[in-house]
């Protein structure tokens, strides 16, 4: 490729952007709006997933011990439980701690349990958390077999419900993402195809003057990339600042809801958006132009 030709490609792409300013603006607008929708719903899905994970991680197993288990056995039991696959946290709760906790949960009426101090009927126990809620039943069954363990409990119905809900959230989130990404690709490529369509006669004239397919295609490709990049950058910036101001606002008014603000996720996502914009811009142009090149 000659240098003068490369120069032509860039001059041509940029002057075409200016000449067709109306079409260019419309294309950038479509890219921006489509990717904005995609970006914000990606964040929504990401947060729903995070919320699901938080919910799942709050599921706890309680393992009550036989009365009179020795301190040594408790320590080794703790080791054994910790060694089980999937277990992330093991906390020992003595019968005294259990009573205190129970009292707290009674609030102002804690005097109800006053009589129990002398003869505490509560057992010593372990509270166990697993990596994923799905591992709870298995881990519970394992612990039940350990000697010294009297009874193992967890919110049986609740865990299954929770798992069903979080499964749905993940599947629906994935489906939404795929559908919206497809919609964005459709909308953007339709716009670009229309703007190429509006210039089909020009393309055929170029071909009649002896231009090779690449000579005609390349400026369109560059132009598409610039349009896609401009639109996706705009969308990216809007998502970034919009989301952070939203997150700050949520954080002030709903401090107990943990929004995803880790930069690693957000940057990957923004990078993906921009790459998508660039890709559809370039490919959309290149593909749209094809059927007008055959002259």
């Amino acid at each position: 490729m000659r240098l003068s030709t490369i120069g032509y490609y860039f001059r041509e792409a940029f002057s075409s952007l200016v000449r067709n300013s109306w079409l260019s603006l419309a294309s950038v607008g479509t890219v921006t709006v489509s990717l904005l929708i995609l970006g914000f719903s990606l964040l929504l899905v990401l947060n729903a997933d995070r919320m699901a994970a938080t919910l799942e991680s709050s599921v706890e197993i309680s393992a009550f011990l036989h009365s009179g288990v020795k301190q040594a056995q408790i320590t080794s039991l703790e080791q054994e439980i910790k060694a089980l696959p999937g277990v992330t946290e093991v906390r020992y709760v003595s019968k005294e701690q259990a009573l205190t906790e129970m009292r707290q949960s009674f609030g102002q009426r804690k005097d109800i349990l006053d009589g129990l101090d002398k003869d505490n009927p509560l057992p010593d126990a372990f509270r166990i958390k697993t990596q994923q809620a799905g591992q709870v039943p298995g881990v519970a069954a394992k612990i039940q077999t350990f000697s010294g363990v009297d009874e193992v409990r967890y919110g049986r119905g609740v865990v299954e419900k929770l798992l069903a809900v979080t499964h749905w959230i993940r599947v629906a989130g994935m489906a939404i993402m795929i559908a919206l990404a497809a919609a964005a690709v459709f909308l953007i490529s339709t716009t670009i195809r229309m703007s190429v369509f509006a210039r089909r006669r020009e393309i055929s004239i170029m071909k009649f003057l002896g231009a090779t397919n690449w000579f005609v295609r390349f400026p369109f490709l560059l132009e598409g990339m610039v349009l896609g990049l401009a639109g996706s950058l705009l969308a990216g910036l809007a998502v970034y600042f919009g989301y952070f101001s939203l997150a700050r606002h949520v954080n002030e008014t709903l401090p107990f809801i943990p929004l995803v603000t880790g930069m690693q996720y957000l940057l990957i996502m923004l990078g993906g958006l921009i790459a998508l914009g660039l890709l559809i811009g370039a490919l959309g142009s290149a593909i749209s132009i094809r059927r007008f090149l055959n002259v």
């Binding site: 003068s4 120069g7 210039r199 020009e202 009649f208 002896g210 090779t212 000579f215």
Partner: protein, 228 residues
């Protein structure tokens, strides 16, 4: 240089535009293509640079069958041919000088060379002061002359001009005809489809007359009308 062997062209809507054309155009010739409206003159020129494909028969350009050419070869065929289109076909978004420069740009000529040759070509057709305008800002005859400048700038070995003087006054037409004769003398083959009977009569070149898609006369040094 160009040979037509039993060429017929039937358009998709069933119109037979050319019917069994046999024609041999030699290098360096100046040929007028005449005939009534709808006779098939434009169709014949379109077959040469492969805007249309023949339905039957073969068109051979410099020993190559135009219809059988690989896709990658077509641009190089077209660069050897300077085309003046009946409907001008200027790029509407490019300025006059950019339109003319485009024929050089496709061949990868350097920017410097372009800057030198484009004003020359515009001067030849008398449009040096319209270089910065868009085609929509030109009169009909001016647009036609931009198309002529674009066709000649490449020093093509073949110039095919379809009705190049239809929108020009007699004086300008004659100036252009002198230009055509000059580049013909320098070796360029010229095929010109025209209705300008005065030009054809005066220049006394080879005349091929079409009627209803058939060659009805092929006369060296003939006039617009059949003398017989």
């Amino acid at each position: 240089m160009i040979r037509f062997y039993g060429v017929s062209k039937v358009y998709q809507n069933g119109v037979t535009a050319l019917n069994n054309i046999n024609l041999h155009i030699r290098k360096g010739e100046f040929l007028f293509l005449v005939g009534p409206s709808g006779a098939g003159k434009s169709t014949l020129t379109k077959l040469i640079f492969r805007e249309e494909l023949p339905t039957r028969g073969q068109v051979i350009f410099s020993g190559k069958n135009v219809a059988r050419m690989r896709h990658g070869e077509i641009p190089y065929l077209r660069r050897k041919i300077g085309m003046v289109f009946q409907d001008f076909r200027l790029l509407p978004q490019k300025k006059v000088w950019e339109n003319v420069a485009f024929a050089l740009e496709v061949t990868g000529v350097s920017r410097r060379e372009i800057k030198r040759r484009v004003p020359e070509a515009l001067k030849m057709v008398g449009l040096e002061d319209k270089a910065g305008m868009l085609p929509t800002q030109l009169s009909g005859g001016e647009q036609q002359r931009v198309g002529i400048a674009r066709a000649m700038i490449n020093n093509p070995s073949l110039l095919v001009a379809d009705e190049p003087t239809g929108n020009l006054d007699p004086e300008t037409s004659w100036e252009l005809m002198n230009l055509f004769q000059e580049i013909n003398q320098r070796g360029t083959t010229i095929i010109m489809a025209t209705h300008a009977w005065d030009i054809v009569d005066k220049l006394k070149k080879r005349v091929v007359a079409l009627n209803c898609g058939q060659i009805v006369r092929d006369e060296e040094g003939g006039g617009y009308r059949d003398e017989a």
